[in-house]
Point group: C4
Chain length 215, copies 4
């Protein structure tokens, strides 16, 4: 019932606020990387050693950068199809942003305790919850677009987000099974699921596109 | 007298700047949560213990996330009805943002000293002041909309903000009376007050809506 | 010569980027305030003591919040009159933002060493440089508007920014002369200068306004 | 194939998100500068000493501020010519932002270990990679504009970005050759390369401009 359409301005502001939170979370990732402070005149070797010990932090930085960027891109695609603001968007969007804001913490927790069971499971657990919230929000945002027969992209975006959630859940489950350094292999499930779910669809989208000239 | 209308662009920029401050404050909450750094090969139990000791920090994170999101949503609703920029908005908006910017500090102060009288009273005190400033600003922003007989939402938004302020003040008072862990029960006053103040109004808004088709 | 007009979009993006930097600098002020971490069950008195020792930090927070908000408001007013993007704006705007980004540092330096000569002089020195850069930028932004005889506000905004710079410079000079805790009295020079420079003008602006009905 | 044009709104949101990341990275630079905390009543000399030891940090702050501002200005110029959103922009833009988000870390690493080979090489190495990514993105963004014979600025912007990348690469190489404090002289290669590559072009742009009156 509380779902009546509002002005476009409300939608714009929601998107704007979300963009800002995504941008801050993605940029805050860096402040959790330690800064080596070596004595004056330290050798190249000791610098190499110091940088080497930061590899987990950099790996965490780039992985979480890709994860947050992926959620931002999904948000971006889904809301580019949302033409009207719906009140149902607001709570799901806020809870999603809450999980995104947690990413710098789970990343630092993972980087400092790499290859351990609990931090890996926490990381992929939060990733899975975020992917499920994202899925719910993307479905709400593409609600009108998906029933429009000319709007194949809405179906494509939804499938991609289902693949993201399935991949995250797979990685979460695998983190309990795989030993130490292989725990991250689970991440590969994300592109696999996405390809599986969108493979045939993508070709049909582009086939349709070629029939009807794009604007 | 210094209240003449300016361009829409000024209003947009005020809203934009506020959104950025809300977004940064809400995302900075996370950097106050400690990151456990356990020895290599620590047991699942010691990870559990480390995470357990962070429960107050996570509780504070989610509570303040909800509080800031609530103020943002109120700002969002009220300004979606404000069609003209008024110079009276600027000082109130800036003071409100000053309190929002303080939220990461009061949250960390509360999380590190949970269940204690002073940090709880400081938290709910700042919450109450913020809610009162928000109330003032929301009344200014909905000034034109509220006198328009077709604009029932303005009344609804105002009542919700009164409920927010009344709930915050109740939680502040109760924090002096209730013992340790129950101090937070006062927070429940917020939804109670809002429901009390908007209950009958909401049904009448939707009744009106159904009579006159929405744009 | 390199001053040809560009699209409105460039102006909008410059303003947007500036808003984001202002918003981040103003919100980062809070992370320099220490968070008291008292033993469980500490007395109200020891909390009072801990909060008492943070008064300089809070004073610094609110003072710098007002300073940054003041510069933002000046930027806001001046650019609301700038109808075209000028390439001359970019370098001055970036240097101004560089000084704004320094504010959290000078604030923390001042708060931790309150009433001392060097930190106070550094604070007011940075404030003065920022006010001068702001003055230059405001003059560029209001260049077109000021020659328009119907645009009295441009003159008013310029005078206000001259007052801000004069006040900051006065506070800087007084910080060398006044003893310890009175060093901040110099800040009062800011409202005094602004009132002095805009006093008669403001009444004439409003007189004009009353003659010609506002849009 | 996956390169069809989308709405203007997508382009706007991409630019917006990028602006936010640039703004946060540029403002976070300041939190890596230590805040001197001297005993009460310390002499002016000891303050001078404390500030003196921060000169590398301030140098790093201003240098990286200029670098990030330069990349932002390039992004700003290039996207002001991009009239349509292209899917090829997204991945390059995100990777560029990832490197920009790393800048506060490389800056702090450099400032704390000034004049040393490894940190300088890391700094200029990241700078070079960022400049190459920027180059790729700028070429994509100005793709349509550059084939338009009336759009000389696109060529100018591209040449400037080539100069930026060449200068960064030169500085990177020189950091291995030059001794300690002179390692930064390599930075001078940036303005030299830019001037070299845009020199003759700029005059011809302005000559064209004078023939055809600007819009």
């Amino acid at each position: 019932m509380s779902d009546e359409a509002e002005t476009d301005h409300s939608l714009e502001r929601l998107v704007f606020f979300s963009d800002a939170v995504f941008a801050i979370a993605i940029t805050l990732l860096v402040i959790e990387i330690d800064i080596p402070d070596l004595p004056k005149g330290a050798s190249v070797g000791s610098y190499g050693h110091a940088l080497n010990s930061l590899i987990p932090s950099f790996a965490g930085f780039f992985m979480s950068f890709a994860v947050i960027a992926g959620f931002w891109a999904a948000h971006h695609s889904a809301f580019s199809l949302a033409s009207t603001y719906s009140r149902r968007m607001l709570p799901w969007n806020l809870v999603l942003l809450g999980m995104i804001a947690l990413m710098p913490w789970v990343t630092a927790f993972l980087s400092r305790n790499l290859n351990e069971l609990v931090p890996t499971a926490v990381y992929f657990g939060v990733f899975t919850i975020t992917a499920l919230l994202n899925l719910r929000l993307v479905f709400i945002a593409t609600d009108a677009a998906v029933s429009d027969p000319g709007q194949m992209p809405a179906v494509l975006i939804r499938r991609r987000c289902i693949g993201l959630a399935a991949g995250a859940a797979t990685a979460f489950c695998l983190s309990f099974v795989l030993p130490g350094p292989q725990r991250f292999m689970g991440l590969l499930a994300v592109p696999l699921w996405i390809r599986l779910l969108t493979g045939t669809l993508r070709s049909s989208v582009f086939a349709r596109r070629n029939e009807t000239p794009a604007a």
